[in-house]
Amino acid sequence: MKLGLRGQERLRLLFIYTLCAVVLVWALAPIYWVFVSSISTRKELYARPYKIWFPSQPTFESYQTIFTQGAKFRAGGFSPTADLMGAGLRNSIIISVGAAGIVTLLATGAGYAFARMRFRGRNLIFLLIMFMLPLPIWVSLIALFFLMSQLGLIDTLLGLILIFVTLLLPLAVWMMTTFVRDIPAEIQDAARVDGANRWRLLYSIILPLARPGMVAVFLVAMLSTWNNFLIPLIFTRTNDSQPLTIVLTLFIGQYEVAWEDMSAAAVVTMLPPFLMALFFQRYLVRGLTMGAVK
């Protein structure tokens, strides 16, 4: 049987969409399932054999539970975690927004300097900042823990923000340097002839033009900070500073804690990255691949 051109195209698309379906199931099924778990009633979720792929009576009870009472034990009663979720959410937001904001400011200023100015030691300083980008920072973290204890910065939001800003700086500076470099030099030359100094140039010429770059840096920094687990694992102790990634593992540690509650906690933890990945993916992919490839 011979297929016309349109028939062939249709067959091709059918084939492609079938493969797409397989890929999307692989990518999204675990996420879908944890979301379903978080809005299921316990009775449906614990049915054996399980065959409900969407709850008949979706409920947000688990979300309410984890924020007001803490996670409940399967046998009944609550683990003493009532404040953990609320505090974790607050800490995660403060740390990631704080670190991202500071790193964006610092990197924009530095990016301008590296891209447009000549000064003694320029290459050396750039190299010193970039050298750590591909290096595993684990060797620094061990002694950094003792340094932070001496500074009294263990288990503080300030300590976490300082560490994250430092770790994010190389990538951020590098991104901003390339972004500023892409701005035509002629524009600032004109302003310079008019007698504008560096600060004025940065503020009125570079900043508006580099805004997409700054947004990218901010988003990448915020996502990396929000998702990080190792740093808060080492540098936090209590819910004064523990972010959601840590809170989630505290729930999991208790074997008896109800799965629907833990699922709700997992959904809350991944919601901001999930939304950022949906709506700002272009920015994020560019920044994250730059960081990895260099």
Binding site: L28, V34, P49, F119, L128, M132, F229, L250
Partner: protein
């Protein structure tokens, strides 16, 4: 000469002269902008890195109340003669060796698919990349729950289709635990090699394929003789980055199989180098020994990274 090069680096098209006469406000600007950055990096990265190395040469142990004494290379020798160290190192390499091929096959297949033209490609691409952007600890949890022996969805699904007659505890046997660790690591990371390979695919000119078609090459040999050789550099980048990610796996294991809350012990069957190192320093408080291990991990990462790069590079040069 070098000044011209600098200028080119700086991106300016101006002549050197305009930059030579720099006003004083410039140096003030540079100092104000760069001082905090240099200070933070020196204080929080370079100084601690050196300090860790210094501690790796002492017998510092916070469990024992004694001032740490310098012991030379003893910690390094102790590790190299320790069975647990080799066991854990072997396991880390096992994770790498199992993860990388799986990841590359998944990434290459998806990249080939996304390289086709079809309506809705952008949406599929966006959704495909999602797992990479989620927190690793969440990914470990997602899969741990999916694989749960009592109520997990995988059991439910397979049971419903009659593929298993009884619920399985997927994460019971140690070798199964390692297997699932690599699957979850693949799920977490495959998006990155996909993006890199997709970019590589899109940079291959269509003419090459057209010419091959005219010469009568079938689809398979087109992939073998055009796509693969031209993608080698992309594979190289992806492999190096993914090697480091898999070799230093931590978050995913922590929530999938490490089975530990604060204070609990770490599951020995999925203990990889990073978890071992964390345990030594922050659980056992054997700081000197742990510091030495951190430097061994650094050396191994760098060495293997270099070998990968050189291999792929040489191969690329030969085939080209």
């Amino acid at each position: 000469m070098s000044e011209n090069r600098l200028l080119k680096l700086a991106g300016g098209k101006q002549t050197g002269r305009a930059y030579m006469r720099r006003p004083t406000s410039d140096s003030l600007y540079v100092v104000i902008v760069l001082a905090p950055i240099v200070l933070m990096i020196a204080l929080f990265i370079y100084y601690p890195a050196l300090d860790t190395f210094g501690q790796s040469l002492t017998n510092r142990n916070l469990r024992i109340r004694r001032p740490p004494k310098p012991v030379g290379a003893e910690n390094y020798l102790k590790l190299l003669n320790d069975d647990e160290f080799w066991e854990v190192t072997g396991r880390s390499f096992q994770v790498v060796i199992m993860t990388l091929p799986l990841e590359m096959v998944v990434a290459f297949s998806i990249a080939m698919l996304l390289n086709q033209r079809f309506p809705g490609r952008g949406v599929v691409r966006t959704l495909t990349i999602l797992p990479w952007m989620l927190p690793g600890v969440v990914n470990g949890f997602l899969w741990g729950w999916l694989l749960n022996g009592e109520y997990g969805a995988l059991n439910g699904l397979l049971y419903q289709f009659g593929l298993i007659s009884e619920y399985q505890v997927w994460l019971r046997a140690p070798e199964h635990q390692i297997f699932w660790v690599t699957v979850v690591q693949t799920w977490t990371r495959y998006a990155f090699p996909t993006i890199i390979l997709l970019a590589g695919l899109q940079s291959i000119p269509d003419d090459l394929f057209d010419a091959a078609k005219v010469d009568g090459a079938n689809a398979l040999s087109r992939v073998r003789f055009i796509t693969f050789p031209l993608l080698l550099p992309s594979f190289g980048i992806a492999l190096v980055v993914e090697f480091i990610a898999a070799f230093q796996i931590f978050d995913v294991v922590w929530t999938l199989t490490a089975g530990s809350s604060a204070g609990g012990s770490i599951n020995p069957f999925t203990k990889t180098l990073m978890l071992y190192n964390y345990e030594l320093v922050f659980r056992d408080l054997r700081v000197g020994l742990g510091a030495a291990l951190s430097y061994l991990i650094l050396l191994m990462s760098l060495a293997v990274g270099m070998i990968f790069v050189l291999r792929v590079y040489n191969q690329g040069v030969q085939e080209a």
